[in-house]
């Protein structure tokens, strides 16, 4: 049973990566744009060239990128490249490889995202449980309307508001970027503090609205636990409030909450990418934004693919952890 469960999850993982790679390959080609010709013509125009010789250059580059071969052959080459994690070159800044750009920007995104998601999940879950628990302090109940409102606001709009209030009006925090321009990334205390200062606003905007999301889900679960047989039994046994709360309520309500975590990862990530754009944070969201503006195909494809890989792997790992928290899951032969 156990093996079958893992096998099913693994198939899903491979399927997702394959679908993403295929979409990645075919969608841009459906549009019928010719990025290389566009780029060359644009460069020629910028340099004040005459357009002679562009045709040959287009063909040369097409040969170099393998774009002169039949489509199916390109497709298989692409799948092979994906398998080896070879994402090709960036068109907009040619000699640089997509993977180099990603290697530079991914740590920023991962750092921002992992910290905020873990924090939001933890805080939101506990808040939600308190909100749904009838014996929790009155004060907590007042948090419900603001949390509900915040959870309905898109991350990046909250980001814009925070940016305006705290960075522009009050001048408490930096306006953009991941560190002060002119400083060089190293591991000195000053630089780390600088990075932290720059990440406060982006992190807060993700945190504020996702805490609400987790709290609402957890609250609904906690409320539905009320009146369950095992709760009545535990109360009848005379267990004290905290024991009930931590061992009976939270443990049981956490199960669907963990599933939700796996499902929400993609959404959280989409939102976080936009937040990066708002704050010009040096992560992949900002890179993606510039790539879109310059029609840098390979860059866009590389980002889409690596993000999908990241999310699927995270989901896969969550799927593997889930049966440890809830053993019933492996016995359901779906």
């Amino acid at each position: 049973m156990r093996l079958q469960y893992i096998a099913r999850r693994l198939t899903l993982l491979l399927l997702v990566v394959w679908v993403a790679a295929t979409l990645n390959f075919f969608l841009p080609r459906l549009g019928g744009r010719d990025p290389i010709r566009q780029k060359l013509v644009q460069q020629a125009a910028a340099g004040g060239y005459v357009h002679t010789g562009i045709e040959e250059m287009v063909q040369e580059y097409n040969r170099k990128f393998g774009l002169d071969k039949p489509l199916w052959q390109q497709y298989f080459t692409y799948l092979g490249d994906v398998f080896r994690l070879d994402l090709g070159y960036s068109i907009a800044n040619y000699p640089r490889r997509v993977s180099d750009v990603l290697a530079e920007s991914l740590p920023w995104t991962i750092g921002l995202l992992v910290t905020t998601t873990v924090l939001a999940f933890g805080v939101g879950t506990i808040l939600g449980a308190l909100l749904g628990w009838p014996y929790s302090p009155r004060l907590v109940q007042y948090l419900f309307p603001p949390l509900l409102t915040l959870s309905a606001v898109p991350y990046f709009l909250l980001g814009l508001l925070l940016l305006y209030i705290f960075a522009f009006r009050l001048r408490l925090l930096p306006l953009f970027g991941g560190y002060t321009p002119g400083t060089f990334p190293d591991f000195s205390i000053n630089f780390v503090l600088d990075v932290l200062r720059h990440s406060i606003l982006p992190a807060t905007s993700i945190l504020l609205s996702s805490v609400g999301f987790w709290a609402l889900g957890m609250r609904a679960m906690t409320v539905s636990l009320e009146g369950e047989d095992f709760m009545t039994f535990a109360e009848a046994c005379g267990l004290r409030g905290p024991t009930l709360f931590f061992h009976y309520v939270i443990r049981n309500a956490l199960l669907p909450q963990t599933t939700a975590l796996g499902l929400a990862l993609g959404q959280v990530l989409s939102g976080a990418l936009l937040v990066e754009v708002v704050f010009s944070y040096p992560g992949i969201g900002t890179v993606l934004y510039h790539a879109i503006r310059q029609f840098d195909y390979f860059m866009i494809q590389g980002i889409v693919l690596s993000v999908v890989l990241g999310v699927t792997f995270a989901t896969f790992i969550l799927d593997l952890i889930y049966p440890i928290i809830d053993p019933r899951i492996t016995y359901q032969s779906r």
Binding site: V19, N24, L27, A152, L157, F168, G266, L274, L288
Partner: protein, 279 residues
């Protein structure tokens, strides 16, 4: 109706807020000149004044007129995409939940795979590959291309439980064919659930469309709320302190989301009375 609304404050609140937004757009169109929303129709970068209650932007649009024109456009994208998502989702859910078998495993895998991939990224691929200058309706189609995934999953699980109910069994024993069972026994009972799913789908479609517009993949020539935010970031209105340019559209967007959220929470309670206290 009124008596029910009083017992369901979240639905009431949502409807009131949505009504406010609609009233703003509707009445605004009557008392204010929508043609001022075009670029160069006023002096650029004006602070709010009697001539332009919400000021003007860098390209000489009157912000009030932009909002009056843009709010219905954004709502339209959400409604169209949400509706398409709901219809496709319902059909797929009925097919897979009711008939089961190969269709079911196909649809289920498709939805599982689709929901794992971050939606915004696929939409970006779609929007980049479609030629530039999307129209409003094309924008809705782009968003709708993923809007059916979530409805399919939730409605399918609902169909699964309905399929086993006693009245469906009786209909089957009475010799009703699949078509009759689906449309006279199952769909009517699915109805409250469908409305709740619909509102959710509209909200996520609006969110997706604004997300696309903010990174510049929206209908460039239209004044939707998302495009207004795009111009705000394009011209760095924030750094020029032009609060009248970005605060009002953000306020309207937040109002729309809170309204839709409250409505869907209220409808959820209507569809599923057991969740009385759960939101």
């Amino acid at each position: 109706m009124w008596a029910y609304l009083r017992r369901n404050p979240s639905l009431l609140l949502g409807l009131i807020l949505l009504g406010l937004v609609l009233a703003f757009a509707g009445i605004g169109r009557l008392v204010w000149d929508p043609s001022l929303a075009a670029p160069l129709s006023a002096l650029p970068n004006q602070r709010p004044s009697w001539d332009h209650p919400l000021g003007t932007d860098r390209q000489g649009r009157d912000i009030l007129a932009v909002l009056i024109v843009g709010t219905p456009l954004t709502l339209y994208i959400g409604l169209l995409a949400g509706l398409l998502g709901l219809v496709i989702g319902t059909i797929l859910a009925l097919l897979s939940g009711y008939f089961g078998g190969i269709i079911d495993s196909l649809v289920r895998t498709l939805v599982d795979v689709g929901l794992t991939i971050p939606p915004l990224l696929v939409l970006i691929l779609v929007a980049v590959s479609v030629r530039t200058n999307l129209s409003i309706s094309q924008m809705a189609l782009v968003v709708a291309s993923l809007a059916w995934l979530w409805p399919t999953r939730t409605i399918r699980s609902q169909v699964l439980t309905l399929r086993e109910r006693a009245w469906v069994q009786i209909a089957r024993l009475s010799g009703a064919n699949h078509f009759q069972i689906l449309f006279f026994e199952i769909v009517p009972n699915l109805f409250p659930y469908l409305t709740a799913t619909f509102v959710g789908a509209v909200a996520s479609a609006i969110l997706a469309s604004i997300g696309l517009e903010v990174i510049g993949l929206g209908p460039i020539e239209a004044n939707t709320l998302g495009m207004t935010i795009y111009w705000v970031s394009y011209y760095a209105a924030l750094l020029h302190g032009m609060w009248w340019w970005f605060l009002p559209p953000i306020a309207i967007i937040i109002l729309i989301f809170v309204a839709l959220f409250a409505i869907s929470a209220g409808l959820d309670e209507f569809a599923n009375p057991r969740r009385r206290r759960a939101v």
